[in-house]
Amino acid sequence: MSEDILNRVTKVTVEELGVKAEEVTVAASFTEDLGADSLDVVELVMAFEDEFGIEIPDEDVSEIKTIGDVVNYIQKKSGE
């Protein structure tokens, strides 16, 4: 897992959800652990898209539940 991607994902998540960096673990779920509702998730995904210059289609969003999921997704997307 890319440390650089994880750090940037953590930074964006802390900023968007107003959570503490230590709460943002690889296993942390956006809705279960980090207090995000469905509108928060929409905005968070937009922030990831901006940060990494990628597009995350709606059908992929449903598979992204944790910090680890999003890091792996971005890694895969960037590798393509």
């Binding site: 968007e16 107003g18 959570v19 207090g35 509108l39 905005e43």
Partner: protein, 418 residues
């Protein structure tokens, strides 16, 4: 069968919260109000350099994280944060302890003249510059004018009636009048009521510039808002919020609450004349005053102080003066009148609430705030407007006037609690 005690038919004010350009918190605001302090300055909240008006009464040093958690504070519209701040202060001031049963009978009527204009402006730019898929999912919830009251209810878990009156610059007076009715009817035992506004942003300033409604005295902001003065040249936009806790009289007495004043009269009429200009004959604002006084069961001579709508516009001030003469007769010349907008500008949807709070505090302390900048009264403005310096006077009843675009005329009568 209602799940709360039968209403007493009387409604009292037991808590106050304000966010204004001359102070956040009731006692700071009140001290500065009595001192005739100026809240108008060069606009800092947005770049308005190309606009004809570059001054406004901004709320200084307002920190959203003082009132909301970090996530909400970062993105929520200023108009909502102002409402939450005033509601929190009013609730704390009331000393109420919320129980499950009380929450079910505790409502919120908080309105805004415009709504979340900052979010509207920012997201419209996003739409045109970056496209529809970059628009925030929070555009709608943070823009709609009922959301300040919605979010206040969420903060405290209040399940009583929740509604937002939108009557432009009469909004804050309407919400208080309607909330008092809700308690009198028995729809609720307690209500948070008031108004909030935060429209000092590019589109807000541009829009009121286009309407030719605002002062352009950019070189001398502290003298720009001058109600009833012959050199006035339009209103100065203000921002802020005012929220009161209203409570059934018996409930307040039973819990030993601190009572500020009683809401005793409420009158409304519509001009049905023009979208923005008040009708020159002043008949309808006069009727609103007459109705408010009649519903209080008093005579006009009982009114000791009038907090005027007094916006500092060329047409508005003499027309309100005329309305006071029509409604109060000869008593118009003996009653004392002042305009808080000379200090805090026109806070639009919050004005009626903040200025009702001024009436409540004037009754409590027996002192009436001045009209700042009233150096040379207009010939058509020949009443006693308390120029420059606050004045002591034992008061029993006070009247608040609010008039809004759309022709909404609203008057409230407040009674000193003894």
């Amino acid at each position: 069968m209602p799940d709360h005690p039968a209403p007493s038919g009387r409604v009292v004010v037991t808590g106050i919260g304000v966010v204004t350009p001359i102070g956040t918190g009731v006692e700071t605001f009140w001290a500065n109000c009595l001192a005739g302090k100026n809240g108008v300055r060069k606009i800092t909240l947005d770049d308005v350099s190309p606009f004809t008006t570059q001054i406004a009464a901004e709320v200084p040093d307002f920190e959203p994280t003082d009132w909301l958690d970090k996530k909400e504070a970062r993105r929520i519209d200023r108009v909502i944060t102002f409402a939450v701040a005033s509601a929190r202060m009013a609730m704390a001031d009331s000393g109420i302890v919320l129980t499950e049963e009380l929450r079910d009978n505790f409502g919120v009527y908080i309105g805004s003249g415009i709504g979340g204009l900052n979010v509207m402006s920012e997201q419209t730019k996003v739409l045109y510059q970056r496209g529809p898929d970059r628009v925030s999912p929070f555009w709608v919830p943070y823009m709609i004018a009922n959301m300040p009251g919605g979010i206040v209810a969420i903060q405290f878990g209040l399940h009583g009636p929740n509604m937002a009156t939108v009557t432009a610059c009469s909004t804050g007076a309407n919400t208080i009048g309607e909330a008092a009715h809700a308690i009198k009817r028995g729809d609720a035992t307690m209500m948070l009521a008031g108004g909030t506004e935060a429209s000092i942003c590019d589109i807000g300033i541009a829009a009121f510039c286009a309407a030719r409604a605002m002062s352009t005295r950019n070189d001398s902001p502290e003298h720009a808002s001058r109600p009833f003065d012959r050199d006035r040249d339009g209103f100065v936009m203000g921002e802020g919020s005012g929220v009161v806790v209203l409570e059934d009289y018996d409930h307040a007495i039973a819990r030993g609450a601190k009572i500020y004043a009683e809401i005793v009269g409420y009158g409304m009429t519509a001009d049905a004349h023009h979208i923005t200009a008040i009708a020159a004959d002043a008949k309808q604002p006069a009727r609103a005053i007459t109705r408010a006084v009649a519903s209080a069961g008093i005579t006009v001579e009982d009114i000791g102080y009038v907090n005027a709508h007094g916006t500092s516009t060329p047409i508005g001030d003499p027309t309100e003066t005329k309305a006071l003469k029509l409604a109060l007769g000869d008593h118009a010349y003996s009653v004392a009148v002042s305009s808080t907008k000379s200090m805090i500008g026109h806070t639009l949807g919050a004005a009626g609430a903040i200025e009702t709070i001024v009436c409540i505090l004037a009754l409590r302390d027996g002192i009436m705030p001045p009209t700042r900048n009233l150096d040379n009264p207009d010939d058509a403005c020949d009443l006693d407007y308390i120029p420059h310096v606050a004045r002591k006077k034992e008061l029993k009843y006070a009247l608040n006037n609010s008039f809004g675009f759309g022709g909404h005329n609203v008057s409230l009568v407040l009674k000193k609690h003894v």
